[in-house]
Amino acid sequence: MEIVVCLKQIVDPEIPASEFRLDPVTKRQIRGSHALVISTYDENALEVALQLKEKQGGKVTAVTIGEEQATEALRKALAMGADSAVLISDPPLLEADDLGKARVLARAIRKLTTPDLILCGCESADWVSRIVGPFLAEELGLPCVTFGTRIEPRDGKIVVRRIVEDGYHLVEAALPAVVTIASDETNTPRLPKVRDIMAAVKKPITLLRMADLGIEPGSLKEMEGRIVLQDVAIPVREARCEFIEGDTPEEQAERLVLRLKELKVI
């Protein structure tokens, strides 16, 4: 099975909230010297792909759009077990919106391979827009299953277990297909072995520029959805302390539950 996994390199979402900064002009997060990691669900997607490869045989290609340092995310994907890696990098691409990026990814995938399956994270851990996967499927004219956690190949098709509120759906899809992946206990990303890290460093990473994909410098704008980001802001967090009174622990617990329900926390 030929699988493409789309990855995004982002600032580690685990950094303390107090260190999160926005650039007022570009309206983007300032990367600063924070650690860069593969976006959380993209790693789950890679794990699903690697497990499928282990079961079925085949090849896993990791693809990302990013700056030169995104090679680090691809190296990690190679160390985890991906067979090849592709970096699509050109300064204008960094400004592209989700539709633009999906269209660029679609061109790259068409140019590189004819995959049976394309996996994306169900959402990126920075912007959480959840639409690059579905846009990509639309662009490639393929079926799309969102929020999948497990994929079982069956008679040339796949059965995807997708999470829904209070349970899951089992969805069958013809191949090729695009599946966006959410996390569950079966797709926790593996840690690469140090030996595989050493081997990954020696593997080549294919670099594609816009010109390689037949995108003229001025035409990227036409590929975008013309979404205008008006404003971004960091929510102000307030912490208040409230004591729950009660004569017995049971009474306190009962009042705590009522209070939490009142606040719509539970």
């Binding site: 840690l191 690469p192 140090v194 030996r195």
Partner: protein
């Protein structure tokens, strides 16, 4: 001069950091309180390739450079210093001398098991009457036909309980002092080698420290490691690498102290403000950060010399001395920043304080490091 870690170094750091924070840190306090050897962690570490990091792939290792190795040990020690020394001993004090002094047959026989975690190793040098004065060891190796027969007592052996492969230093030649010593590989399942008293320690409780008794323990001739009478050279050059492992362990402990102190100082409020706003606390945190940075660069510098095949004895001693004293200093300040909470087991500062002390003692005390450094700087032999 390039002060940036390579892509490979950063990936190793990220991987081991994730491993340490998700699998070791959650049980570090329990390992300490129960003085329990973390068998399951060592198993996972071997799957990741952390037992024989610098052993070449042809002998089953990961083939990493020294800087990668130190990065990994620092990350493990950040979570649990006891677990870090289990790995450091196996890597630096057991795999390394076999790799550098072993015959091809010895490398093929022992390294794959050691590097892939099927067997753990230990290093038996210290004796009741020979600590810093290691050349005065009294364990004897007698030649008898095709065998060596070893008799003596080794103490303070890290991994002594669990190890199956022991590097043992013994007096094989009539010459006194350093010249009469040879190194041997002794499998623990041979008759005549037994584990004695298991020590109850102040810190690094996840690792075992035990006495090893050798009583007419017979090993084949081919278990001699390196040349006859050159054991002391094997011991000392092995310790150069070992000291870097301990420096990395110390940097890891110091970093734990710094990170815990930052978190606590931001959160803890006294006199209506976080204690991080007080100058006394800020200065300690600044000094911790400064010393840690310096210690790390010293050990990377020594590692870089080692990887280039250059002499690094002095640099290893400098790194070990500075890093271990940094760990103890940082632990002292971390407890002070935590106040009463630093003195109880609910917070990790107390554990770091106990763990830090050993780094100033084992694999050469701070005084021995100063002796080594002074000899190099002054250009004298003794």
């Amino acid at each position: 001069m390039d002060f940036h870690l390579s892509e490979e170094h950063r990936l190793i750091q990220e991987t081991v950091r994730t491993f340490a924070s998700t699998e070791i840190l959650p049980i570090a306090a329990e390992l300490d309180q129960q003085a329990r050897f973390p068998k399951e962690i060592i198993q996972r570490a071997s799957e990741l390739g952390l037992l024989g990091m610098m052993v070449p792939p042809e002998y089953g290792g990961a083939g990493l450079d020294t800087i990668s190795y130190l990065i990994a040990i620092e990350e493990i020690a950040r979570a649990c210093a006891g677990t870090a020394v289990i790995l450091s001993v196996n890597n630096s004090l057991v795999c390394d001398p076999i790799l550098r002094y072993g015959t091809e047959a010895q490398k093929r026989r022992y390294l794959p098991d050691l590097a892939q975690g099927r067997k753990l190793g230990c290093y038996c040098l210290t004796e009741p009457e020979a600590g810093s004065d290691a050349a005065s060891i009294q364990t004897v190796a007698r030649e008898e036909g095709d065998e060596w027969v070893l008799t003596g007592t080794k103490i303070f052996v890290t991994n002594g309980v669990e190890a199956e492969i022991c590097i043992v230093y013994a007096r094989s030649e009539p010459e006194p002092g350093a010249r009469g010593i040879s190194a041997f590989i002794v499998e623990k399942d041979r008759p005549g080698i037994t584990v004695g008293k298991v020590e109850r320690k102040l810190g690094i409780k996840a690792s075992s420290t035990a006495e090893i008794h050798l009583e007419e323990c017979r090993i084949p001739k081919e278990n001699l490691l390196g040349r006859r009478g050159e054991g002391f050279r094997v011991a000392l050059s092995t310790l150069d690498g070992g000291r870097l492992g301990i420096a990395a362990q110390a940097v890891g402990i110091a970093r734990a102290c710094l990170e815990e102190s930052i978190a606590y100082a931001r959160e803890r409020r006294q006199f209506g403000q976080p204690i991080a706003s007080f100058q006394a606390i800020r200065w300690w945190i600044a000094d911790m950060a400064t010393r840690i940075e310096a210690a790390r660069l010293l050990m990377y510098r020594a590692a870089s010399l080692r990887d280039r095949g250059r002499p690094y004895t002095k640099e290893a001693s400098i790194a070990k001395l500075f890093a271990s004293e940094t760990a103890m200093w940082a632990a002292h300040k971390a407890v002070q920043i935590h106040g009463g909470y630093g003195y109880i087991q609910d917070y990790p500062a107390e554990r770091h304080f106990r763990d830090a002390k050993i780094t100033e003692i084992y694999e050469g005390t701070s005084e021995i490091q100063r002796l080594v450094i002074a000899r190099h700087v002054l250009g004298v032999r003794s």
